[in-house]
Symmetry: C2
Subunit: 206 residues, 2 copies
């Protein structure tokens, strides 16, 4: 059985690659799983997408980055929590979410590609930012481990249903519905001596 086959709640499975791309492009954080000395390890880290690759980065001194760079199998999970589903029975309560899993082996990005892909990360977090900052120094490039994971083996679920109350529960007294959730960007806080915050909230917003 393929590793990416969804076996539970198949009604939520999404096979449209564009839905995956949107999730990867807006998620900001992925949870990366690897196996270290027979134990699972799950690391939260910034995430971006460059075409058909998930992009991860970190310090060249990071143990988990070195492990992935050496060819260890990886699982990159990206989740957007979008609501609480309040059913009349606790058992039927759940959440609204989009969540994707990408399995594979990551490959280091080096050479001329490194600057370009680092800019993709920067512009994913804040569109247009890469053009505002100075170029990476050689020292910074040398200190950064950049990895790409091909988007080949993946699955995605998207759940946005009303609560599915049992017929006997429908007339019960408890409230039922959905409490939507989303990420809010507050007003930017300028670092002391910084120019005006201008449009930063807007540029980060969903």
């Amino acid at each position: 059985m393929p590793r990416t086959r969804i076996t539970r709640l198949r009604k939520y499975a999404v096979e449209d690659r564009a839905v995956l791309d949107t999730l990867l492009d807006t998620a900001r954080v992925a949870h990366v799983g690897l196996v270290d000395d027979d134990w699972p390890v799950v690391i939260p880290t910034g995430v971006a997408r460059d075409g058909d690759n998930v992009i991860l980065h970190g310090s060249t001194g990071s143990h988990w980055m070195r492990t992935l760079a050496s060819g260890a199998p990886a699982c990159v999970t990206v989740t957007s929590l979008e609501g609480l589903v309040v059913a009349r029975a606790a058992f039927e309560s759940s959440m609204h979410y989009r969540s994707a899993v990408v399995f594979g082996v990551a490959q280091p990005v080096d050479g001329d590609e490194k600057r370009r892909v680092l800019d993709v990360i920067t512009d994913t977090l804040i569109p247009g930012r890469a053009a505002e900052v100075r170029p990476h120094s050689d020292k910074e490039l040398a200190a950064t481990q950049l990895l790409r994971l091909p988007i080949e083996h993946w699955s995605l679920k998207a759940a946005h249903s009303w609560p599915e109350d049992l017929p006997n529960d429908i007339d019960g007294p408890a409230w039922a519905g959905v409490v939507p959730m989303h990420i809010t960007y507050d007003d930017p806080l300028p670092r002391p001596t910084s120019p005006p915050a201008s449009t930063y909230r807007h540029r980060c917003g969903t």
Copy 2:
């Protein structure tokens, strides 16, 4: 070296158990790592805390729940993303976050404890909700795998700093600062035929 020893960015390490408890009590979702056929798997799932245990639950038919229930090593990671740190150089940019990792082997919760701990989950998501809904049916209890993971081996990082611009970058033209982020709960959407939404937004709010 203990698995939970923080080796990178030790300045962000937090050893106060109360900080961990607050994060676990408010995170709603954990990313659970396990090893399946030599591959890492990372699953997003609802999370709660019952005293000195992390609580996970799912279907008894779920492959990953069965794997954990059989004694497979687990890594439960909980992350709260709280801001974008916009430094004058891309390299120094980062995020505000709290993130914790709990390692261990989960144990099934059965018998009389099961109803009580399921209510802990319900009340973690919406305080007071367990008292509003009917008791779990025997069929629902039998269909639910409930696991507790002792909070013994854990680590936590909390990063809430201003951007650390290099001296040569301080006078650069780019804006620098922090864009705070938080989860917003929107107005509850009642399921058709449901009683008034009343206070649900407030009760879920941060």
